[in-house]
Symmetry: C2
Subunit: 199 residues, 2 copies
């Protein structure tokens, strides 16, 4: 081999990053070793730090560094509102909008029979307990608008139906800035079906 | 903040990877922490291992884990042929072709006045010494066919001209599989200028 074992191992390891194939992993490995050893050290340290510190919130499942995350512990959040999302990344996307002031529950995945992920593999049991034990007036299901996300939403809706509380889903429709001409048929069909009254 | 400090630090650190912006860094950080903690550990270990072990070959400058790299130490290589490349990645690309059996010299960069990289910042002094002290019959300049690569090639050529040895450059032209219709003008012009006699 023309390169060292350490480079080969690094290339192999970098393929664990999402969307990174062999070519890209090689480019990253050479770049870091040639031009940015300081950056490489920072990545290694940040990974070790994250692996050591990041745990799941005991209540809502999202990433945190203490037993209960900041959102669940906050006095300012509306504890009667619960938003169900698939992942911590989804939670963060909603938080960045800044319009929602309730609590969250993170399923940590989506139902996917093909990959052997059923309700037992996700956080449904705890979600059920939270709804049973707390005074919640509305559950907002904010799973992705994909086949698996919709299946997960349907399951959540059915599981929580007996509680007789309000259960809502995110609106489907044309994205803001979207042009009808370029919209796919299913989005356009959903936007027609869910059309709203003008105020 | 909705996420932990450790996640924010990890996102920041991952931006050191080439071609990775804030969005992609976030996706990588969440992916590793949500779904592939084992992979994250492997990346951290591989980075630390590479940082500790990878040094430069005392002769040709490429990455290696001992004083002299395998290629420079090999008895099977033609020591009268020297190929000058910009980076270890270029060296590896040529090695993967398997057609070249001489030695290399890695400049570890290219001349770039705009970035303050002059001849002193690259390995020209050592390259000069290698050509002066060894019986070399041909130097093949294999820098990139970019503005900076061509400048670097010109400088190398002028520096080595006094030795009176054969100095060659890689052929420029239409890539194998390339269609003339889609070729840029400068490539086509170079292919015309450097046209070869049919055998």
């Amino acid at each position: 081999m023309a390169t060292s074992n350490a480079i080969e191992q690094l290339k192999e390891a970098l393929k664990a990053l999402p969307g990174v194939g062999p070519k890209n992993a090689q480019r990253m490995a050479f770049h870091l070793m040639e031009r940015n050893r300081e950056g490489a050290q920072k990545i290694a340290d940040a990974l070790n730090n994250a692996l050591e510190r990041i745990i799941s919130c005991q209540r809502c499942n999202t990433f945190c560094e203490s037993e209960i995350c900041d959102i669940c512990a906050s006095e300012k959040r509306d504890k009667q509102l619960l938003c169900v999302v698939e992942t911590p990344a989804d939670l963060q996307a909603i938080e960045q909008v800044g319009a929602y002031r309730g609590l969250y529950f993170v399923l940590m995945g989506k139902l996917s029979p093909l990959e052997g992920i059923g309700p037992e593999q996700l956080g449904f049991k705890r979600l059920n307990a939270i709804v049973a034990e707390n005074q919640i007036r509305e559950v907002i299901i904010a799973t992705n608008i994909t086949a698996e996300g919709e299946t997960t939403a349907d399951y959540t809706q059915q599981m929580l139906a007996p509680y007789g509380i309000s259960i809502t889903r995110l609106a489907r429709g044309v994205p803001v800035g979207g042009e009808l001409e370029y919209m796919d048929q299913r989005t356009l069909a959903a936007a027609f079906k869910d059309r709203r009254a003008t105020s």
